[in-house]
């Protein structure tokens, strides 16, 4: 084994040398900022670091006792749950449909994946236009059909709905790509056996297909969670700015706001740490629980 791995390189240092650029980039752009974030979370910082005072755990105390912040955590949980659930559910549903050999299947698949190619900023602007209460097309049709013109962004529930819809719409394509790939790699013999045994389509899906897809579901769960936590900033910034009255203020947006608009870098760093720890815990939990349920056979 030893000799084999080294066989490609004459010198023992060459592989390390080749890896060096990667390490440097990781160190400079990943590990150092992470370390700095942890450090800054113990300081009260003014003007992006021009002045700072050590305050121990004060920032964390503030985050975990101030009702405003507790509300942000709750918003983040609700928002992330909805985004992850619907991204995956809709993604799976559409990929099962797109997996069928119907006329024009190539076209359907392309169309389903398309939104993923848009940048979140563009997607956010599209939804802003769609749901504009006065000039938006959604309200135009609702008005014509039902005589309704809801103020989408001024009602907390509706504003949350628009935000979730935008994030899901943008990310469904990603889920479709992976689910489609997984569906096409399913072992045909198992499904055939189920068919011969007289299982209904409903049973075939839930008893055979879905369990076989579980590794992919597991992977997508992690990816979608990361997406919901970190990549949804543009939607909030463009659509609601956290409003109405903080009803759609989620952690990633508030970190930006505290850090770069309100110059509370220490507090923002502490929130980043909380978010970081949250994602790590969630991922670990998933690996622990997931290991038992996930079926890697096939």
């Amino acid at each position: 084994m030893e000799t084999e791995t080294h066989a490609a390189y004459k010198s023992r240092f060459l592989p390390w040398l080749l890896l060096l650029p990667t390490f440097v980039i990781l160190l400079v752009f990943l590990y150092y900022p992470t370390f700095e974030t942890f450090r800054l979370s113990f300081y009260r910082v003014a003007f992006l670091g021009l002045r700072k005072v050590y305050v121990g755990l004060d920032n964390y105390r503030e985050i975990f006792t101030n009702p405003e912040y507790l509300r942000i955590f709750w918003n983040t949980a609700v928002y992330s749950f909805l985004v992850v659930f619907f991204s995956m559910a809709v993604g799976l549903f559409l990929s099962v449909l797109a997996n069928q050999k119907v006329r024009g299947w190539r076209f359907y698949r392309l169309m389903l994946i398309w939104p993923y190619a848009l940048s979140p900023a563009v997607a956010g602007v599209i939804f802003l236009f769609l749901f504009n209460p006065q000039a938006g097309i959604v309200n135009y049709f609702l008005d014509v059909l039902f005589g309704l013109r809801p103020d989408w962004l001024t009602q907390p529930g509706l504003a949350m709905f628009v935000l979730v819809a935008a994030a899901v719409w943008k990310n469904v394509g990603y889920n479709v790509v992976f689910y489609l790939a997984a569906l096409q790699n399913l072992p045909g013999d198992v499904l055939e056996a189920a068919l011969i045994d007289g299982a209904t389509p409903w049973q075939r899906f839930w008893k055979v297909t879905f369990p076989l897809l579980s590794p992919m579901t597991f992977f997508l769960f992690v990816m979608n969670t990361i997406y919901a936590f970190f990549d949804t900033f543009p939607f909030v910034d463009l659509l609601t700015k956290g409003g109405p009255n903080g009803a759609t203020n989620i952690l990633i947006y508030n970190i930006y706001r505290d850090g770069f608009e309100f110059f509370k870098t220490g507090l923002a760093a502490a929130q980043s740490v909380v978010l970081f720890v949250g994602v790590v815990l969630l991922t670990l939990l998933q690996f622990r629980l997931g290991e038992r349920r996930v079926h890697y056979g096939g």
Binding site: A46, F47, L48, L50, V53, N132, P133, Q134, G246, E261
Partner: protein
């Protein structure tokens, strides 16, 4: 051979030109779109007429982005020479300690230009008797209205509402006659609240709006604020007031007005040029009027909004000098005239106003007149001087959240009290962080 010799001779001549290096000045601003090009043209004119100086103007995103970028660059010792900072960032800029008080650096023979600022502008930017920055783009809010809709509703198109009560009455008529789907819009922005506070002669912070000494208490739970919020809430509940749903959405409000979904719009005077073009394109007649104010109070005036230009410290003398040369050129009489005509921002120098008057500009362009008269009629006192509060950006968000909470049904008393406490806390933390 001859050609080569000539070539060499030419090159020899060219060398001294290279040796006399131009002084490089960087200027960061927050104007995108058409205004970037406008600024670029002015900078090119400057570079052409000042062969020893090369100014480079860069668009850095929003006001907040620009300020952040400047602070970060200063930390790394690579600050741009000139930075545009929004008016409510003034206290922040002072506290950051990366800028010089500009008045100390203006050469004696150019000091006269500092005496030329129109009073309301000098009033805002002269902090403790001294200009810390050069006032540049200045604006305040006015009422824009659609004269065609006014006619349809049977309202006098030459006499827009001047008070909250008159706005309410006009709205009743517009709704009754179905002249427009909605009556009035303006961005849900704390800026308008601040203006209405000043119009009533009230203060937003203690220590004379933070002008006599550092502010330590924000006045949100006040009589003046209550008048504003009560009227706004009633307008919203009756469906007269409409906004896009997003706070601080200037474009959203403009869109509602320009598409004739609402008869009136309150927004910055800096949009006069834009609005005139938009009205023309959409085929309606535009009118402008003073900002409507609460009934029963004397019109006290508005606070100058906009931004000013700050000079960062730590550059060699010749660069400081060159930067100042540019700054004073950029905001001189003729360039202020040009800037005003191109954007609608105020001509902030008395001499520029004279030039415009001599050209009969305001008579030929009445839309610009309301804006300017309103500014000139503002009384000079602590209220119209505007508040200096360090964490102003955060306090704006607190005020905007409060308005939205009231819309959703939170009792006004409670909303004001809670917002007041939050703002005081923000101020306390800020003051502690800057060590004051």
């Amino acid at each position: 051979m001859k050609r080569i010799l000539v070539g060499l001779a030419l090159m020899a001549l060219a060398v001294p030109a290279f040796a006399a290096k131009k002084v490089q000045i960087t200027f960061w601003h927050a104007f995108g779109g058409g205004r970037t090009a406008f600024i670029q043209r002015m900078v090119e004119d400057f570079n052409y007429t000042h062969p020893g100086i090369e100014v480079k103007a860069e668009y850095k995103g929003s006001y907040r982005d620009t300020l952040n970028a400047a602070i970060l660059a200063a930390r790394q010792g690579a600050a741009p020479h000139i930075v545009q900072i929004f008016e409510v960032g003034s206290q922040l800029a002072l506290d950051s300690g990366i800028f010089v008080p500009i008045e100390d650096y203006v050469p004696a023979d150019l000091k006269f230009q500092l005496e030329d600022y129109i009073k309301p502008v000098a009033n805002y930017y002269r902090i403790k008797g001294k200009f810390n920055s050069i006032p540049w783009n200045s604006s305040n809010p006015i009422l824009y209205y659609n004269k065609d809709i006014f006619r349809k509703a049977g309202l006098d198109p030459e006499n827009p509402p001047k008070t909250f009560g008159e706005v309410m009455k006009a709205c009743e008529k517009i709704e009754a006659t179905k002249a427009a789907p909605k009556c009035i819009t303006w961005p849900l922005h704390s800026w308008f609240v601040e203006q209405w506070i000043a119009e009533q002669g009230a203060l937003l912070a203690n220590n004379e709006n933070g002008r006599a000494a550092r502010a330590t208490d924000v006045y949100i739970d006040s009589e003046a604020m209550r008048r504003i919020v009560e009227w706004w809430k009633e307008m919203y509940d009756k469906g007269y007031y409409v906004y896009s749903g997003k706070p601080e959405d200037w474009d959203g409000a403009n869109q509602i007005f320009v598409s004739q979904q609402a008869a009136m719009l309150i927004t910055s005077t800096s949009d006069v040029t834009f609005m005139q073009n938009a009205a023309f394109e959409n085929g309606f007649e535009l009118g402008t009027g003073f900002l409507p104010i609460p009934d029963g109070v004397e019109r006290n005036g508005t606070v100058v909004g906009g931004a000013s230009l700050w000079l960062t410290k730590g550059h060699p003398d010749e660069e400081m000098k060159a930067a100042l040369t540019f700054l004073l050129w950029f905001t001189n009489t003729e360039n202020m005239v040009r800037w005003h005509k191109g954007t609608g921002y105020f001509p902030v120098l008395n001499t520029s106003v004279k030039v415009l008057e001599w050209q009969h500009w305001f008579e030929r362009n009445p839309a610009y007149k309301a804006a300017f008269d309103q500014l000139l009629q503002s009384k000079a006192n602590r209220a119209t001087q505007g508040a200096l509060i360090g964490p102003f950006p955060e306090i704006r968000t607190i005020i905007e959240n409060m308005i939205q909470a009231v819309f959703q049904g939170k009792p006004i008393d409670q909303a004001l009290k809670e917002a007041d406490a939050q703002a005081d806390k923000a101020l306390r933390e800020y003051n502690a962080a800057v060590g004051k």
